[in-house]
Symmetry: C2
Subunit: 332 residues, 2 copies
C-alpha cells in the first residue's frame, strides 16, 4: 500500500544554526516542501540582515532539495511599522515567546499586556503578518497552557484581523479555544499525538520525550487527535522538531525538545492509517496550512509505502523520537 | 541555635544490598536511631532465613552505630498463619507492592481483591502485624495514588484491627483519606515536602528528583506540609530514601528514587524552622512512629545547629537530593 502526499509542510520547525543546522535541515527538506523556521536561535532573529543571513544558511544546507524555508522574526514589542513593512516580504510570521518560557527565549516578552504589545500588533495586523505564540504561563507545569488561554482570547478579540496561531497545543482546553475565535488557529506536533505524561515519567524517566509544553493527560491527547485526524481546518501540522545534542538530553538538567523531523511523515501516516483517516492526512500536513497562511508551496510529491522501517538510534549526535523502534511506514 | 532530636526514626528506607548497602546504611545510622527497612531487594525478602541474613548484613554495615533495622517482609498472598507467627518477632511490618509498580516490585501482588488477600491479611490482623502499602494504580501517572484510595478504604473497612500504613503519600486526596479511618496511617517523605512536579519537569528535566509516586501539584504539597508541620498523629516521617548508582539515574530510562537519607534531618529541621514549627519536629520524626508501631527505640540524641552546610555532590556513586546546594542546618 502507498500514500502520496503533495507538498507536505511543517509549520513549526527548529533548525538551530551552524553544525546542527547542517545536520537537521537536510532531514526536513527530504520529507517536506517547506517549513516555518523558528527564530529562537542564539542570538534570536530580530533584524532583516540576520534574517537574510539565516535564510541563506538554510538554503545552503538544503541545496539540491526543493524546500522553502518560511522565515519568522522573534517578536519584540518595539518593532516599528516601517521596520515590519520593510521585512514583510521576507517573513511569513512573527513568533512571540513569553520571556524564559523555553529554549533560547530569554529575550522574549516580559509583559503580555495588550497595551505593551499594541504598537507591534497593530502594525502586524495592518500588514497582515500572522502572530505565532508559544502560549504558556509561568505557572505549574501542567497548568501553563490552560492559564495562557485568556491571553489568546484577549488578543483575538483586541486584534480581530490578526491571524494568531496557538503553537504546539497540548490540551483539551486549547483544542476547544481554537474553535471559538475566527482568527485563532493552531499547530499540533507529532509527539503530542503519540504520547502523554505517562510516556515521559510514568514508567522510567525518558528525557528524549521531554519537551515544552510537556505532554499532558490522555483526554488532552484525545482532543488533539480529534482535531488532527479529522483535519479540522483550524489546525495544521507543526512538528516543533527541536534537536539537541545527545549530551544535552541525557544528563541532569535535560534540555526540552523532541526531535521528530526525519520520521514525522512516516509516523503521521502510521497514525492516520491506524485510525482509518488517511483521507485527511493531506489536509493536515499541507492544505490547511496553505489556507491559513495563504501559501502556494512548491510542488513536491512524497510517497510512503507500508513497509517496516527501523528508526535510527541517532542522526549524527541527535537522538530521534522513537529511536530504534520499528514502524510500519517508510518514505519510498 | 541548636535543635536536639531524641531517637529519630526513618519509617521507610531502602538499603538495597551488597556494596550499595555498605555505602548507604552507615549514612542512615549516623542520623537515625532506627528505620523501617524495605524488602524489595533482588530477590525480595520473603523467607525467615533471607530476612535474618539481610538483617545481619545491615547490622554488619552499621557496626558501631546505634541503629535498629526494623525489618519487613515482601507481601505475598500465600503467607500462612504459621509462617507469619514464626517470623513475627523478627519483623515490624509487611510491605505490599502492586506488581510492577516501582523498583523491584515485579513479584508484587497482581490481584488486590479482598478475597485474594484475605488469608494473609486475617493472619496479620490476628498477629498484629501492620501492613505497609505502596498505594498506586496502573493508571495515568498523576492519578495513580488517588485511584488507589478506594482500595485503602476497602482494606481499612474489611480489616478494622489491621494497622495500614499508606506509604509516601503525595496528594491532598491521601492526606484527607488518612484522617477518615482509625486504622489508616501514613508516611511522608522529605522530598515530597520540598518539591512538586514543577521541580522535576517544569524547568529542565531533573532525573535526581524523579521518584514513585511522582511529585504532584502545589496544593498536594500544601496538604502534606499541613499534616507534617503540625505533626498530625496519623503521620510519621519515612524518607523513602532510594539510592541508585549515578549511571542509572543520569541516562534515558532513569530509575525512580530520590536519595535523601544523609541530609534528611538537616532539611527537615530547616523546613520546620522556616515554618516556625520546630516544636513539632520531634513528634514527626519519632514520637508519632513510636505510638503508631508501638516502638521503644534505642536512646540516641542527634543535635543539629544552624550553620551553613554544603550537601556533597555524591556519596560514593550516589547523588543525593539537593546535591551541591548550601543549606542552613547541620548535624553537630
Amino acid at each position: 500500500m502507498q500514500v502520496q502526499l503533495t507538498s507536505p509542510l511543517d509549520m513549526h520547525l527548529h533548525f538551530r544554526s551552524g553544525d546542527m543546522l547542517k545536520t537537521v535541515a537536510p532531514l526536513s527538506s527530504k520529507s517536506f516542501a517547506g517549513g516555518l523556521i523558528m527564530p529562537n536561535t542564539t542570538p534570536p532573529i530580530t533584524t532583516k540582515e540576520v534574517l537574510l543571513e539565516y535564510k541563506q544558511e538554510i538554503l545552503d544546507a538544503t541545496n539540491g532539495d526543493n524546500f522553502t524555508p518560511y522565515m519568522t522574526l522573534f517578536f519584540k514589542d518595539d518593532y516599528s511599522y516601517d521596520f515590519l513593512k520593510s521585512v514583510k516580504d521576507e517573513i511569513l510570521a512573527i513568533k512571540l515567546y513569553p520571556a524564559g518560557i523555553t529554549t533560547n527565549s530569554e529575550g522574549g516578552v516580559s509583559s503580555l499586556s495588550i497595551d505593551n504589545l499594541r504598537t507591534t500588533l497593530e502594525a502586524m495586523s495592518e500588514l497582515e503578518i500572522p502572530l505565532c505564540i508559544h502560549g504558556e504561563s509561568n505557572g505549574f507545569v501542567m497548568d501553563r497552557e490552560a492559564e495562557f488561554i485568556p491571553i489568546y482570547k484577549q488578543l483575538a478579540t483586541a486584534f480581530p484581523k490578526l491571524k494568531i496561531i496557538m503553537e504546539h497545543i497540548t490540551t483539551k482546553a486549547s483544542a476547544d479555544a481554537v474553535l471559538e475565535f475566527d482568527n485563532l488557529y493552531a499547530t499540533i506536533t507529532l509527539h503530542h499525538l503519540y504520547i502523554t505524561l505517562d510516556d515521559v515519567a510514568g514508567g522510567m524517566l525518558q528525557p528524549h520525550l521531554f519537551c515544552k509544553p510537556i505532554a499532558k493527560r490522555p483526554e488532552d491527547r484525545e482532543a488533539l487527535l480529534n482535531l488532527a485526524l479529522n483535519a479540522n481546518e483550524k489546525v495544521m501540522f507543526g512538528s516543533d522538531s527541536a534537536p539537541h545534542p545527545r549530551s544535552a538530553k541525557e544528563a541532569p538538567g535535560c534540555a526540552a525538545g523532541v526531535f521528530t523531523a526525519p520520521i514525522a511523515l512516516q509516523l503521521l501516516t502510521q497514525l492516520f492509517a491506524k485510525h482509518n483517516k488517511l483521507e485527511n492526512l493531506q489536509a493536515f500536513v499541507s492544505d490547511n496550512a496553505q489556507k491559513i497562511y495563504g501559501l502556494k508551496p512548491i510542488e513536491k510529491t512524497i510517497t510512503l509505502e507500508q513497509k517496516e522501517f527501523a528508526i535510527p538510534a541517532k542522526y549524527k549526535d541527535v537522538v530521534p523520537f522513537m529511536a530504534n523502534q520499528k514502524i510500519e511506514w517508510r518514505i519510498v
